[in-house]
């Protein structure tokens, strides 16, 4: 059964990259109502297709959650977009670099 996700802290306090990755994993699980624990998402495995098995509807949902929480509006600019959803780590890194809140 999916674990309850604790309300995530805001505004952003400086957190370690690992802690931030956990936070983003929690956001994904919460946004998609996934049947996995955030800690069980492999930081290196692809989010899209094989791996976590998300599809484009999920990606849109994650993008929406990310824009609401971190003020990052994703764009589908070819290569970069594929890279962003290449793994949990890459998504967390991208948010860290572009967040406005």
């Amino acid at each position: 059964m999916s674990e309850k996700v604790s309300p995530l802290r805001q505004p952003a306090a400086p957190v370690s990259a690992a802690a931030f990755m956990d936070e983003v994993a929690g956001l994904i699980v919460e946004a998609l109502n996934l049947d996995v624990a955030p800690a069980d998402i492999d930081p290196a495995q692809p989010l899209y297709g094989e791996g976590l098995g998300l599809d484009s509807i999920d990606i849109l949902e994650i993008a929406l959650a990310v824009s609401k929480r971190y003020g990052v509006q994703l764009r589908a600019d070819g290569e970069e977009n594929e890279r962003i959803f290449g793994s949990l780590r890459q998504l967390a890194d991208y948010i860290t670099a572009h967040r406005t809140k």
Binding site: D35, E50, G53, I57, L60, A63, Q73, R75, A76
Partner: protein
């Protein structure tokens, strides 16, 4: 373009760019070939497509296309790539004549999943397709000849996207935007890049994301929505935010579009002129107008007056996830065809939040003592579109079949819920 398509008579048009798709579609049409438009490109669907039309080729504009068919790359212009073969000299527009296409000529073949594992082809003749889109333009109030720009978030390969973007542009001469914007920021940027009046052809999933993103949406003169019913409050919010009219069209792969409503004016749909609904037992059938033969609708409809009806959701067996359609029977068939699966069944998930988003997923129970989740999911991924992958997939010792061998949906939901609790 038509010469590049080779000796075969069938073309799978996989071009992602809407302009490329349209050129490919037109070339296929003028050369007397048929465009095959399956809703998904899984390995199994491609195999079935090859069995249906052994001479089929895949027209693609992707560098990394992995569709297992003879490939015809969409030609790049000399300006885009020095490596491409020299193109033919440009023909001045004035010297080109618009080719006449016979109304009875088959223009597209779309597929529904059927219930036995074999996709069911539906051939669409050019005349009825154009008649349907012409009526759509009149119903949408855009048949006055004023030039417009069409931006669409739906793929051109989907019946709704084919009609409301590609064929609409061909039938009216309006400008068609090649992009298929995905994220809210993309949709806003593409809209801003084209002149008004502009039309956004989209779905509840994209529109809800656009609204909730908080992004400023450029003034849009008309929004067209389809694939799943749009909740009236969401429709009202979108109209307010975009200072626009939002019209919803109703249709199916088999019939094309047949009705329209403005959700902020009421829940009733109005049929296109000439289209008649009739009840056959529990089923609703549609005929007349551009519909080539009487056709069953896979939704529960209540006729409320002449040419008016209410929509009460899909029939129990049908699965519609963000415009992709399948049936529980088809999904069950695919699950049970996996070596090692003893028994298995899909069911609808009761998830109000997902339903509000317009994305109600399916789940499945499976009896497969020798397999694990990853193995079953990997096998399913080869057979069905990923939107139909079960969420969750629950391993059980036995399915709750009743004395007649039937599997009540409610029993499956209870069984899955019990297993998930104890896990």
């Amino acid at each position: 373009m038509a010469e590049r398509l080779g000796a075969g008579r069938h073309v799978l048009n996989a071009c992602a760019d809407r302009y490329h798709f349209t050129v490919g579609f037109a070339a296929t049409l003028v050369s007397g070939r048929l465009s095959l438009l399956p809703s998904t490109h899984t390995a199994q669907v491609i195999r079935q497509l090859r069995a249906y039309a052994p001479d089929v080729v895949c027209l693609t504009d992707a560098d990394d296309c992995d569709i297992e068919l003879p490939r015809v790359p969409y030609p790049r212009t000399a300006a885009a790539s020095d490596a491409s073969p020299p193109g033919t000299p440009a023909v001045p527009a004035a010297s080109m004549s618009v080719p006449a296409i016979g109304a009875a000529q088959p223009a597209a073949c779309v597929f529904t999943s059927g219930s036995t594992g074999t996709p069911v082809p539906h051939r669409k003749s050019f005349g009825p397709l154009i008649a349907c889109v012409g009526e759509e333009a009149r119903r949408l109030g855009i048949a006055d000849g004023t030039s417009r720009a069409i931006v669409a978030t739906v793929p051109p390969q989907h019946m709704y996207g084919l009609e409301s973007s590609v064929l609409m542009a061909l039938a009216t001469g309006y400008a068609l935007c090649a992009e298929r914007p995905f994220y809210p920021a993309d949709i806003a940027a593409v809209l801003a890049a084209v002149p008004r009046p502009r039309i956004l052809v989209s779905t509840p999933v994209h529109l809800r994301a656009l609204l909730e993103s908080g992004i400023a949406v450029p003034a849009t003169d008309l929004i067209v929505c389809s694939t799943a019913p749009l909740a009236a409050p969401l429709a009202a919010d979108i109209e307010r935010r975009c200072a626009t009219r939002l019209l919803e069209v109703y249709g199916s792969t088999e019939t094309g579009q047949i009705a329209l409503r403005r959700p902020t004016e009421g829940p009733e749909w109005r049929l296109w002129p000439g289209i008649k609904l009739s009840a056959r037992g529990e089923e609703t059938w549609a005929q007349g107008g551009h519909i080539e033969q009487p056709t069953r609708l896979w939704d529960v409809l209540e006729v409320t007056g002449a040419g008016r009806f209410l929509l009460h959701g899909r029939v129990a067996d049908l699965v519609n996830i963000a415009g992709k359609r399948s049936s529980l029977a088809y999904l069950d068939h695919q699950l049970n065809s996996i070596p090692g699966v003893v028994d298995g069944a899909f069911f609808h998930v009761d998830d109000p939040r997902a339903a509000a988003r317009g994305v109600a997923r399916v789940a499945a129970c499976v009896v497969a003592p020798q397999l694990d989740t990853a193995q079953v999911v990997e096998e399913l991924r080869r057979r069905i579109d990923p939107v139909f992958l079960p969420r969750p997939l629950v391993f059980v010792a036995q399915l709750p079949r009743n004395s007649t061998g039937k599997l009540p949906q409610e029993a499956l939901r209870s069984l899955a819920a019990a297993h998930l609790k104890s896990a």
